[in-house]
Amino acid sequence: MSLIKDLTKGIYRENPVFRLVLGMCPFLAVTTSVENALGMGAAATFVLICSNFLVSLFRNIIPSKVRIPCYIVIIATFVTLVDMVMNAYLPDLHRSLGIFIPLIVVNCIILGRAEGFANRNPVLNSIADAVGMGIGFTLAMVILASFRELLGNGTLLNINVLGSAYQNQPLLIAILAPGAFILLSFILGFFNILEKRKGGRQ
């Protein structure tokens, strides 16, 4: 029962982006296209699951004074793995994600789950938590990226949706940095209204 709860809470109730407002740096930077968002989400989810698993496994061995360096070493290991695999098999995606792949090491969602959850929960729950959080993060990125790619380029997953007439004069700002912030504020506002209507906690 608690396993399912740990899995689902990351998707909406404790969505790392929309509810906890964590991981803003990759979230705003790579959501220029749905493809990038999916790639980033997959990479982050993989690292999240592996690091939560290892941190939870070693939670009684790691001395609490040096736990943050230990998390960083564990996370960096998997990030290096992802970085190299992506570079070998998906070079285009690797190029467009650029610096944000190595930066997963200091992603506050992953570090936050290691410190806040995997550190004090059993292995299975930690994996469930990581899967939920990873899905939540990916989902949030795909939502923002859909708006940005659709408005800023007229496409979705590189498929022309709005027609070539729109593509000649797209709402360019949507794929620029200010557009990310403006759309994020609208999405956050939407979720706040949703919570308020539900009468839930604020």
Binding site: L172, A174, P178, I182
Partner: protein, 375 residues
């Protein structure tokens, strides 16, 4: 059922004669002479763009207030109309008609209502709308310059990219070039010519360098001439709708000063800074720029009268207003002389809007009798 809504005015509550509605409609009246000039020089399309923009502003404001369950009568207090008109005044007359609609809707929804409506916006909504359009549709926003009086001639003189301007500069008499592209665009071209002259000089190609320099100087002396000044004064020049006719903008300013709406510290410190910096840095060397040209050309008169003096987004303290004007003038000239855009008026005001709370805090006058802390 007509229930009277009581409006809470600013303190002290001693029967203030100025209300938001009165001030805003004074501003609308002050904007009308420039609208007449825009219609005269750029044709009925200019009028259509302004009306469309103002109407969109009111509708967007109404819908926002309705959505947020606030009193919808705010939509008619005139501030939305002013925002819509000012945004339209910042557009070239050749833009497609959906552009002012999108820009104004963004200005009202994101620039004003998202921050809490009138009195709570951080930056000038009209300028934010312009910045939004510049970022979204850079080609439409910079290619729609229509030469004055061209609207009723058979030729469609919509001047395009800088390449076309450059080509025209070398082939046609100077006066026409000035009337098509904006004067500041032409000035920027001369700085580009200077740069290529410097390049040619560095490569040892002295003859080419000299001819380029000569061309740049020739264009500049045509710009800094009496006929250009007169065209700039009456508004017979390319540019955004409402920025061209300096005389009619000044008529509006005089009306605002007489009505006690416009406080002169802001415009004077702003335009003064622009003039001084234009004299120091505006030319190819030091202290040989042309202050008159820089004050008359582009949007600084429009910005100086109607945007620098916006009551919500500029400092309230007298000292703060002077600091604001100097800062905006400095940024305007930096962008004009060294920046990527020919005109820096709108961005300079937007940037200074952001530091307005800080300026207000630092220039707050000491309360009488208060002892200076750590003094």
């Amino acid at each position: 059922m007509a229930t009277r809504r009581f409006e809470l005015a600013m303190s002290p509550h001693v029967g203030a004669t100025q209300t938001t509605r009165k001030i805003m409609f004074d501003v609308v009246i002050a904007l009308l002479p420039a609208l007449a000039a825009a219609t005269w020089f750029f044709g009925p399309r200019a009028l259509l763009i302004v009306v469309l923009s103002a109407a969109t502003a009111v509708v967007a404001e109404y819908l926002c207030l309705k959505f947020m369950k606030r009193p919808v009568s705010f939509a008619l207090d005139g501030s939305a109309i002013v925002t819509g008109m000012l945004l339209a005044y910042n557009l070239p007359s050749g833009v497609p008609l959906w552009l002012p609609v999108i820009g104004t809707a963004f200005a009202i929804v994101v620039g004003k209502q998202a921050f809490g409506g009138i009195g709570h916006n951080i930056v000038n909504p009209a300028l934010l709308g312009r910045a939004f359009l510049m970022a979204s549709f850079p080609i439409l926003m910079t290619a729609g310059w229509v030469a004055p009086d061209a609207w009723n001639s058979s030729e469609d003189i919509a001047w395009g990219t800088s390449g076309i301007v450059q080509e025209q500069l070398s082939t046609i008499p100077m006066a026409d070039a000035i009337s098509g592209a904006t004067p500041l665009n032409v000035l920027k071209q001369t700085f580009d010519l200077d740069a290529s002259a410097q390049n040619a000089h560095n490569e040892g190609n002295t003859a080419e360098a000299l001819s380029l320099e000569e061309r740049a100087d020739g264009i500049r002396s045509a710009l800094y001439s009496k006929s250009t000044y007169i065209n700039l004064l009456i508004g017979r020049t390319g540019g955004c709708l409402g920025e061209t006719s300096v005389i009619l903008l000044l008529v509006g300013a005089i009306y605002l000063v007489m009505r006690g709406v416009l406080e002169l510290r802001l415009p004077i410190s702003y335009l003064g800074t622009v003039a001084v910096l234009a004299w120091v840095f505006g030319g190819s060397g030091w202290f040989n720029g042309d202050p008159l040209f820089h004050v008359l050309a582009g949007g600084v008169i429009l910005g100086g009268i109607f945007m620098v003096s916006d009551m919500v987004t500029t400092p309230v303290t007298p000292k703060g207003r002077i600091i604001f004007g100097i800062g905006a003038g400095l940024l305007t000239m930096v962008i004009r002389r060294w920046g990527g855009y020919p005109e820096g008026c709108s961005y300079s005001i937007l940037l200074m809007n952001l530091v307005t709370p800080l300026i207000d805090k630092l220039t707050l006058p000491r309360v009488f009798g208060e002892v200076k802390k750590n003094g």
